[in-house]
């Protein structure tokens, strides 16, 4: 059994937009998106139970390589960084093509995603990747178990939970409710430096340059504007005065 976790590396700390391009500034140090660590954790639990090889795949710039040491320290076996100047400026479809090609190359039985990114990614990536791979996919998953040759998951929706079964290979996007994250041990951190971390390019994945990056993008960023302020927002920072200020505010608006 081979599990590929598709992780996104994001700028560590607070995300920044490049004011010139309107895209995320990815030049600084990076870390694995926290929500993707739940996917890593779920893969590690399968590895430690029934057994599996766990490979973490990401698309990103050079600093993402260092960020990939975190899932390796946690227990993943290998990591693959798709890094190529041709991939810069990829939109959803370009990113999905890169990930789908990297997953295909690994012949994964199970592809895991985290549910959200902390830097503005939508919940639309995994279904695009799954469609390209022609595998079934389930999102918002809060529980996952292996059955004979397939999986059984719980999907949380707006109106409740669905129990869903799928054959393998399949793609699953997990939420942060699925497990509790572990911390890397000192031994794990030391081992991470020796684990294989492969850097591949667009050509290695058998993709045309025109399919990815700015050339392959079907959407574009046109500009940025500050959002309309909520009019008349009042700020109170004095803790002693705050209770009175709240009550006065409510009374003035006829709310108390």
């Amino acid at each position: 059994m081979k599990i590929v976790v598709c992780a996104k590396c994001v700028p560590d700390g607070r995300a920044r937009l490049d004011p010139d391009t309107g895209r995320l500034d990815r030049s600084g140090a990076m870390e694995v998106n926290r929500f993707d660590l739940y996917a890593v954790e779920e893969a590690l639990r399968i590895k430690e139970g029934p057994g599996a090889e766990v490979v973490v795949v990401t698309v990103g710039p050079e600093p993402a390589a260092e960020a990939l040491r975190t899932p390796l320290a946690l227990g993943a076996d290998r990591a693959v960084l798709v890094r190529d100047d041709l991939a810069v400026g990829s939109d959803l479809l370009g990113t999905a093509r890169l990930l789908a090609a990297a997953v295909q190359r690994e012949r994964a039985d199970l592809v895991l995603f985290g549910q959200q990114t902390s830097d503005g990614g939508g919940a639309v990536l995994w279904s695009a990747v799954a469609e390209m791979l022609q595998v079934p996919w389930v999102s918002q998953v809060t529980a996952l178990e292996l059955t004979g040759g397939g999986i059984r998951v719980t999907r949380q929706t707006e109106v409740g939970d669905d129990d869903v079964e799928a054959p393998l290979p399949a793609a699953v996007a997990v939420t942060d409710a699925i497990n509790e994250l572990r911390y890397a041990s000192l031994k794990g951190k030391m081992a991470a430096g020796k684990k294989p971390l492969e850097v591949v390019g667009v050509a290695d994945l058998g993709l045309e340059a025109s399919a990815v990056g700015d050339a392959g993008a079907r959407t574009e960023v046109l500009g940025m504007t500050p959002p309309p302020e909520r009019s008349g927002g009042v700020r109170v920072e004095d803790a002693d005065a705050a209770p009175g200020a709240v009550v006065d505010f409510l009374v003035a608006r006829g709310l108390a």
Binding site: L93, A123, P226, P227, A239, P243, A245
Partner: protein, 322 residues
């Protein structure tokens, strides 16, 4: 411009968000059709879509479409776009709609912009706006080719009745793609029998992780009681087991539009804000001065909830008693 709107439905009603997207498409001056995909009774919802602006309501109904799974919906939408000359597909966000949108983009090799809060026609081109960085900026986005896919933030637009009739057209899948490999083997409705209804509440007091523990939920309960309101919770609070799922406000919970919304120890993640952005007045108490909830607050109180809230309750009780 010819727009196809994905009409999601739950519990025998078309999603309000989808009706809102219909209204937006009509307001842009586009030719607007809708598509309903569902079990054997789904065609009964077509008149509602017609009344809200869909000139044609495509209906794909049958047992195969009953489970709320994305792939059969992608099949139907792709077929309609290819045959019907639609240059734009618009969806209101949900768990299902996001899954449909991503796969449809891959299937049609179409550009997808998501989390849009508005869209305008500028110089003949469609321009969307998407909040970024905890909603601190609006990014303007465009499409380089048709068909264009637009996934809107839940509740971005209010539904508007146009009084149209909506011509119903039955759709069947032309090519059997082998069905969906997924099977829904069980469904459990979220428990809605706990506590008074949030959606219709005049005042909502929401508990966030900033309360520090389930024992502090009493702060939200006491404030709600004195304001005549109902207690809500963030997703994190529900996942931590401090509050039932029925209390959850946000993306995978409820959408509320009360007269007064009080957020206690709520950071204000985008996924939460989509559930409360239509509140008339927002008061937030959080010790983190950079909490995104303050960006949508009419009164932002940067202080510890544990010291401020008991005193507010005391003052309000004294007022009520006097």
């Amino acid at each position: 411009m010819k727009v196809l709107v994905f009409l999601e439905h739950r519990g025998g009603a078309v999603d309000r968000g989808a009706l809102g997207v219909l209204a937006k498409a009509v307001a842009l001056g586009a030719d607007v059709d809708g598509v309903l995909v569902g079990g054997p009774a789904v065609s009964a919802l077509a008149p509602v879509a017609g009344r809200h602006g869909a000139a044609v309501v495509h209906v794909a109904e049958g047992d195969a479409f009953e489970p709320p799974l994305p792939r059969p919906r992608v099949d139907i939408l792709a077929q309609l776009v290819r045959a019907g000359g639609y240059d734009t597909v618009a969806l209101s966000n949900s768990v299902l709609a996001a899954d449909v949108a991503g796969a449809l983009a891959a299937r049609l090799d179409a550009g997808l912009n998501w989390d849009l809060v508005d869209v305008v026609v500028r110089g003949g081109a469609l321009v969307g706006s998407r909040p970024a960085l905890a909603d601190s900026v609006l990014v303007e986005v465009g499409w380089r080719s048709a068909p264009r896919l637009a996934l809107f933030r839940t509740g971005a637009f209010e539904p508007v009745e146009t009084g149209g009739a909506g011509e119903v057209r039955a759709v069947t899948l032309e090519a059997d793609r082998g069905g969906d490999a997924l099977r829904v083997v069980g469904q459990h409705a979220a428990r809605d029998d706990e506590g008074p209804p949030l959606e219709s509440a005049d005042v909502v007091v929401t508990a966030g992780m900033g309360l520090g523990g389930p024992e502090h939920l009493v702060l939200a309960e006491e404030l709600a009681a004195v304001l005549g309101g109902v207690v809500g919770a963030t997703r994190a609070v529900v996942y931590a087991g401090w509050a039932p799922h029925a209390a959850q406000i946000g993306q995978t919970g409820k959408t509320v539009a009360p007269r007064l919304y009080v957020a206690l120890g709520v950071s204000g993640a985008v996924q939460h804000k989509v559930g409360m952005q239509r509140a008339q007045t927002v008061v937030a108490v959080n010790s983190d001065p950079r909490a995104p909830i303050f960006e949508v607050s009419d009164l932002a109180v940067v202080a510890d909830v544990h010291t401020v809230v008991p005193r507010v309750v005391e003052l309000l009780r004294a007022r009520a008693g006097s």
